[in-house]
């Protein structure tokens, strides 16, 4: 089997087998456009460091099965159990999307309070027409195989008393699996919300999860968004979040990559109207042979507007991480303030970080800054702690944890703090294996 490209003949057969519904015309258009390009290769500047061969291999395996077998998506008990356990740890209104399908029982459980403040609809179940974008190869692939779309509208007025949780969980119990998840979030003017996007997986077979979220902040809307990626270390993910900000809206986004084997995240922020404020924070912890690639792009189309970005990474073993932060200040976007920082802690000399801030400025009256650091723990801090009686391991642990905790502290979604902190502690124990 050719593992350098998606088998488009198989893909066409699988798309053709999907039941006809309101998504069909979008699928066919996306299929046509995907077939022209296939997946991006490392010759593409934005994909230089991330070779998709393992993802292509899983996808072709799954396509072969799907082309000959039934196209049904079955949800394993493991998924239900995982969702219940997570709900007991993070208090939120959870909507579960399993292998791309919105779980209707989770919608039914939202309850009266939540439904007064938001609308949540499964496009497939309601047979609704929902135009979906398909601008880039990964998103086209997602659209071509789309079975369902979750559409959420956050209403104006009082905010929800708890965060809205979107659990994107994928199961690979029955064999190699790929999934296409699609969420569209809209906000009414001046609405406010906390949103958790949680990526998880179950099952021992290879898995590629491809998730795309489209999100628009209306005038004056304010959203605190947390993305937590806690996948099985053998599983792959491509995740994309496209955000558009209208006048005076505010987004605070915190991303935690704490699991996964091969992970690529794209966060595209489009500042479409003046007065918007964007804060992006990120933390990635990688060990073994994990590969975590974060690409962010902020388009300052108008000013005044402010964006702040800080991503941090801790790497051990032979892991490899990529941080690419692009900020484009378009012509006329005067009054733009764009700041960006990326700090990395390398716990092993075999780990690799490729960090690249990219600033493109076409306006005159702007303030922009960026900086990146790669290094080990501050020796003077280690000595300071030891001089107070903490032994070397303890001092190292405390400082490593503090490096990560700074990013946790940036998120105002208190409901996830304990959970994220315990995941980080657990991960740091694994990473500590790469200390020596």
């Amino acid at each position: 089997m050719n593992s350098t490209a998606i088998d488009t003949a198989l893909l066409e057969r699988v798309v053709g087998k999907l039941p006809g519904d309101t998504l069909t015309p979008f699928r066919l258009e996306a299929l046509r456009r995907f077939s022209e390009t296939g997946f991006p290769t490392t010759r593409h500047e934005d994909w230089r460091y991330t070779n998709l061969a393992p993802i292509i291999e899983v996808s072709n395996l799954w396509l072969r099965d799907a082309a000959s077998g039934p196209a049904e998506i079955r949800v394993d008990d493991a998924v239900t159990k995982y969702a219940a356990r997570l709900a007991s740890q993070i208090d939120a209104y959870w909507i579960v999307i399993a292998n791309g399908m919105v779980q209707m029982d989770s919608l039914a459980r939202l309850g009266e309070h939540a439904l007064r403040r938001l609308d949540a609809i499964s496009v497939a179940s309601d047979n609704l027409m929902q135009p979906v974008s398909a601008e880039e190869p990964m998103t086209r692939f997602n659209t071509a195989l789309l079975r369902d779309v979750l559409r959420v509208t956050i209403r104006a007025g009082d905010a929800l008393d708890k965060p809205l949780g979107l659990l994107m969980i994928d199961d690979a119990s029955d064999g190699a699996s790929i999934s296409q998840t699609r969420v569209i979030i809209e906000t009414e003017p001046y609405s406010r919300a906390q949103i958790i996007e949680y990526h998880a997986s179950t099952g021992d077979n290879p898995l590629f999860a491809n998730a795309v979220t489209e999100f628009e902040l209306a005038r004056g809307a304010a959203v605190d968004y947390v993305r937590i990626q806690n996948r099985d270390p053998a599983h792959f993910q491509a995740g994309k979040l496209m955000v558009r900000l209208r006048r005076d809206s505010r987004l605070r986004h915190s991303a935690f990559d704490l699991g996964g084997g091969l992970i690529r995240n794209d966060l595209d922020v489009d500042i479409a109207e003046p007065g918007a404020t964007v804060e992006l924070y990120g933390l990635y912890l990688a060990s073994g042979r994990q590969h975590i690639d974060n690409h962010t792009r902020i388009d300052h189309r108008v000013g005044p507007a402010a964006s702040t970005e800080e991503y941090r990474g801790i790497l051990s073993g032979r892991s490899r991480c990529i941080f690419n932060g692009k900020a484009i200040v378009h012509k006329g976007a005067d009054g733009t303030d764009a700041r960006q920082a990326n700090h990395n802690l390398l716990l092993s000399d075999k780990a690799e970080i490729d960090t690249k801030p990219e600033l493109e400025i076409y306006a005159d009256d702007v303030k922009c800054s960026h900086g990146a650091t790669v290094g080990q723990l501050d020796k003077s801090a280690v000595f300071y702690l030891r001089s107070r009686g903490l032994d070397r391991d303890e001092a190292t642990q405390v400082l490593t944890r503090a490096f990560a905790a700074t990013i946790v502290g940036k998120s105002t979604v208190q409901a996830v703090h304990n959970h994220v902190e315990s995941l980080i502690d657990h991960r740091l124990q694994t990473l500590a294996g790469g200390l020596s």
Binding site: A381, F383, L385, S387, R388, G389, L390, D391, R392, T406
Partner: protein
């Protein structure tokens, strides 16, 4: 308590301590004075166990033990405390957390039960009141965003909580306004005890107006060139260091 004999130490290729001898007994307060670059901070850091400094000759004995064979944390746990000239800012590590971890590390080593959160807070608040410190600093990152004076008070707070047997305070008075200086001096004086020794490393005589030393030593060129009582400090203040150096080389 502390016996330093013919100590020689270098950093990289530069020899900084060139044969230093000093004896400090329990209950005593010593002041070590000297011009910039004379080796004062190096002496403090070598005693605390900083890895950048290599001891090439001589010995340091503390309570009868070979101090130089111990790790920095072992030295701390048997009652040695260094107040840093430049306390490190550690974002993300809670000040209270560090204090409690340090106190319990010492207590474990000395066979005492660990303090719980309640006992610890009571103790910390008591000591902070003594030093006229804002209790909110307890919940900040260690020295994170502290002013110069707050950092130095925080060092004294750590000392007050840890109750060391031997405290070495490296330029604790530098950069302090008069109120902060008085608060720091109050903290130091509160720890004067027949079983405890304190070594003040300082450039100026100012602190010694508030903390009266039993002995004053002049460090120059990496060794002690003159020792005396409190009046030596006053003479240095008046005449500078040159006359001691001239007298020593004569």
């Amino acid at each position: 308590m502390l016996e330093i004999t013919n100590l020689k130490a270098r950093i990289g290729d530069t020899e900084i301590l060139t044969g230093l001898t000093l004896e400090v007994n329990r209950g005593e307060v010593h002041a070590i004075m000297g011009p910039n670059g004379s080796g004062k901070s190096t002496l403090a850091l070598v005693i605390a166990g900083h890895e950048d400094y290599v001891v090439t000759e001589g010995s340091v004995r503390y309570m009868g033990q070979d101090l130089l064979s111990l790790d920095p944390e072992e030295r701390a746990r048997i009652g040695l405390f260094l107040g840093f000239q430049y306390p490190v800012e550690i974002a993300g590590v809670n000040n209270a957390y560090l204090l409690k971890a340090a106190l319990n590390a010492k207590r474990r080593t000395q066979g005492q039960p660990e303090v719980d959160a309640f006992e610890f807070l009571k103790l910390a608040r008591e000591k902070m009141a003594l030093l006229d410190m804002d209790p909110a600093l307890l919940n900040r990152g260690v020295n994170e965003g502290f002013s110069g004076g707050e950092k130095k008070r925080n060092e004294i707070l750590q000392m007050a909580v840890l109750e060391p047997r031997l405290a070495i305070l490296d330029e604790t008075d530098s950069g302090l306004d008069i109120d902060a200086l008085k608060a720091v001096a109050k903290g130091v004086n509160s720890l004067r005890d027949p079983d405890r020794a304190i070594v003040l490393v300082t450039h100026y005589q100012r602190l010694l107006d508030y903390v009266e030393p039993d002995f004053v030593h002049v460090l120059s060129g990496g060794r002690i060139i003159r020792s005396g009582d409190k009046s030596l400090a006053l003479k240095l203040e008046e005449k500078g260091y040159d006359w001691v150096r001239e007298a020593a080389s004569a």
